[in-house]
């Protein structure tokens, strides 16, 4: 037997502790069966930033020699299991400049398994996931996305619910009894053991064929090598902004072409231009300068630059003018203003649909003390 590699793709900071619990749990459970393993975070992700996709890995082997042979890798080139702890990562992963948009299943081996936590069904997620030349499985752990911050962990059992399905999707890792033993040793909590067991039984697994999924080619960049760099390591500035594309007037700021941050977003703002008072606050307070000024003086969040923080919704003085909606509701990054301009009535219907369908009220972490405890009750019910 060679080594078994598992990657956890997660939202930087928001799920750092969660990812650590999963990779650590894998190694500790494998040790119960006399195997050896190692868990580590990817170097390039550090320092992590809120929301920006990051990875941690767990490698398990029969003995130390096998493990050490595989260890000279900064990032495994192939994995047996990919765990995406946020379903909006299914749209692709972009972790830093030049990285491009990488499919969530990129490293997955043939017949490997992509484990996703989501409130959706596999059929809803597959259209977002880029196609793969070889078949693989998708395993769905039903549940809300678990987001917390750096200091206070939200113990909603997402960690053990993921660990619990691993004996089902990758029996070569360890058995159910080993994972249960590990959970008892680590947390000494019967409820957590029960959560893992229930997850093992309830997980939905489905095969994904090569002709299923998003057929788009994800964007990519060619990273310059040291020989391509300019004298004195000069980096060319971002070009000046200009008019709103395709129109006279308006303003679109210059933007770095090599880092889009599409993949940072788990929510996006939808804007009701009919109630907008052009107060400028969303535009002025956006840390990512993602708002374009339209030729008629509205402010439009450009999906090439929005990272989904929600500050625009927070500062907007008009009720339901800016609303954050779950990113999984959208199939493209098209301009909302152009859509509104073309047909105001159908835009109003589209907007209403997006706001009302809100499948999951996302919370990106700590709002007030006591919040996680009340949410935990909700989740275990």
């Amino acid at each position: 037997m060679s080594t078994i590699a598992v990657e956890v793709i997660y939202r930087g900071i928001f799920q750092k502790t969660l990812a650590k619990h999963i990779t650590r749990g894998i190694v500790l459970a494998a040790r119960k069966e006399g195997k050896v393993g190692v868990a580590f975070g990817r170097y390039g992700d550090s320092p992590e930033r809120n929301g920006i996709p990051a990875k941690q890995f767990a490698i398990v082997a029969e003995d130390d020699d096998e493990l050490q042979i595989s260890m000279a890798q900064y990032e495994p080139t192939q994995v047996d299991v990919t765990i995406a702890v946020d379903d909006t990562l299914c749209k692709g992963v972009e972790s830093w400049a030049w990285y491009g948009l990488q499919p969530v299943n990129k490293l997955l081996k043939e017949n490997g398994t992509l484990v996703v936590t989501s409130i959706h069904n596999p059929e809803d997620l597959i259209p977002h996931i880029h196609r793969k030349e070889v078949p693989y499985n998708i395993a769905l752990v039903k549940g809300k996305t678990s987001f917390a911050g750096l200091w206070v962990y939200k113990d909603d059992h997402t960690d053990v619910r993921i660990l619990g399905v691993l004996p089902r999707v990758a029996p070569q890792l360890f058995s159910s009894s080993s994972i249960e033993q590990m959970i008892r040793d680590e947390w000494n909590d019967d409820l957590k053991v029960a959560s893992a067991e229930r997850s093992f039984e309830k997980v939905q697994i489905r095969k994904v064929k090569p002709d299923e999924g998003n057929s788009e080619t994800p964007y990519s960049f060619t990273m310059p090598g040291w020989k391509d760099m300019e004298e004195g390591l000069v980096v060319r500035a971002v070009p000046n902004g200009g008019q709103y594309e395709g129109h006279d007037g308006g303003y679109r700021p210059g933007r770095s072409p090599y880092f889009k941050k599409f993949a940072t977003r788990t929510m996006r703002p939808v804007i009701d231009f009919t109630t907008c008072t052009k107060c400028t606050l969303c535009w002025l307070q956006c840390p990512d300068s993602c708002f374009d000024v339209t030729p008629d003086g509205y402010y439009e969040a450009n999906m090439e630059a929005c990272c989904g923080c929600g500050v625009c919704e927070a500062v907007c003085p008009v009720d339901k003018c800016v609303t954050m909606v779950n990113e999984s509701e959208f199939a493209d990054n098209a301009s909302q203003w152009e859509m509104w301009r073309a047909d105001k009535e159908s835009y109003a219907g589209w907007l209403k649909g997006k706001i009302e369908s809100r499948p999951e009220e996302r919370s990106h972490g700590f709002h007030h003390r006591g919040q996680y405890e009340s949410e935990k009750v909700e989740q275990t019910d």
Binding site: L150, W151, A237, K261, Q285, F366
Partner: protein, 339 residues
């Protein structure tokens, strides 16, 4: 006898205050495509700072989030010239650049023109490491420059270590609350602007800002660049990563810091102190400070606080307004001066 020409003070750019948000210029000189956190208030500070300063500006940045997150491998979000400088050297870099530009113009190698020089530093780079260089720079009145400290109250880039800007009792990598010792950060936040104002009588302008009040912030940057000589601005930036809160509250927490009186908004222009916004109302007793509890319980970094800690925090904040010789500015209690 004539004065040495390199000691003459050049006319800085004249940047009038923006009169209302609708008058703010549309152009951006700090674009998107940086690797900062969702809801990063410091990225907003960079954006507003350069929006206020305009295109004829050179920006220098010492190491910290706003250098590292903004320059992932061979990329930049800056439209204007930007150069990185070492952690403690925002002051020296600003001074050197201003002097260099002056020399190039004197020798005819550059067109005579007023160019803004801004060096930014984080609280680690400014309040801790760069303090002596900043102090030295403020002692050179013949150079026009601004040093802007974006203070997110920790070494946030390297995953939240305590700095001189960290508030009392906070959870950081260096000061984790434990079972035996709940409070590991036992120091009250360094009072940077008051210290610089008191210690540098030739410095014509120091100010505090918070990007939640964007217009006030931009106009202070414009004043600092127009007044002539070296100037300093201290910005309090809520940090969703280190403060542990949902990024959508970045704006609101900035407002709360002012409303609770934890961070005052003021400027000292030619030795004249002027309070701003809600801080002004607090000083004039037209506005009651919100309890610090409202601010503390919203952040994961204070999740370990018990009532006793919140009370202590409140007491220390009350002192800033009730005991300090200049409320929120100079931490000397006048009744003790005569003893």
């Amino acid at each position: 006898m004539e004065a040495r020409s390199d000691l003459l003070v050049e006319e800085p750019q004249k940047l009038d205050a923006f009169k209302g948000v609708k008058k703010v210029t549309v152009e951006e000189y700090f674009g998107s495509g940086h690797r900062t956190c969702q809801g990063c208030e410091s990225a907003l500070v960079m954006k507003l700072m350069i929006k206020a300063a305009g295109p004829r500006t050179v920006v220098l940045g010492s190491t910290g989030c706003m250098y590292v997150a903004n320059t992932t491998y061979y990329t930049t979000p800056w439209v204007v010239p930007f150069m990185h400088t070492q952690l403690g050297s925002s002051g020296s870099a600003a001074l050197g650049t201003a002097a260099g530009l002056k020399a190039l113009m004197r020798k005819g190698k550059m067109k005579e023109e007023a160019i803004n020089v801004i060096a930014f530093c984080g609280d680690g780079g400014g309040l801790d490491m760069g303090l002596s260089a900043i102090s030295a720079t403020l002692m050179h009145p013949q150079y026009n420059l601004l040093i802007l400290c974006y203070d997110n109250e920790s070494y946030a880039n390297t995953d939240i270590q305590a700095s001189g800007g960290s508030p009392w009792g906070v959870n950081t990598t260096f000061t984790p609350p434990g079972k035996k010792h709940r409070i590991m950060q036992t120091r009250w936040k360094k009072n940077m602007v008051g210290m610089l104002a008191a210690g540098h009588p030739e410095c014509r302008y120091v100010a505090t800002v918070c990007a939640s009040y964007a217009l006030d912030m931009m106009n202070k940057v414009r004043k600092a660049l127009s007044i002539g000589g070296p100037t300093f601005i201290h910005s309090l930036d809520p940090c969703p990563k280190g403060w542990d809160y949902d990024p959508l509250y970045s704006h609101e927490l900035g407002e709360l810091a002012i409303e609770t009186g934890i961070f005052p908004l003021y400027e000292i222009e030619d030795r004249k102190l002027k309070y701003y916004g809600k801080t002004k109302k607090i000083v004039e007793r037209r506005l009651k400070r919100k309890p610090v509890r409202d601010y503390l319980l919203r952040q994961g970094r204070f999740a370990h606080f018990i009532d006793e800690d919140i009370d202590y925090f409140q007491k220390k904040t009350d002192e800033m307004w009730e005991k300090w010789v200049l409320p929120g500015v100079i931490p000397i209690h006048p009744e003790e001066m005569g003893k």
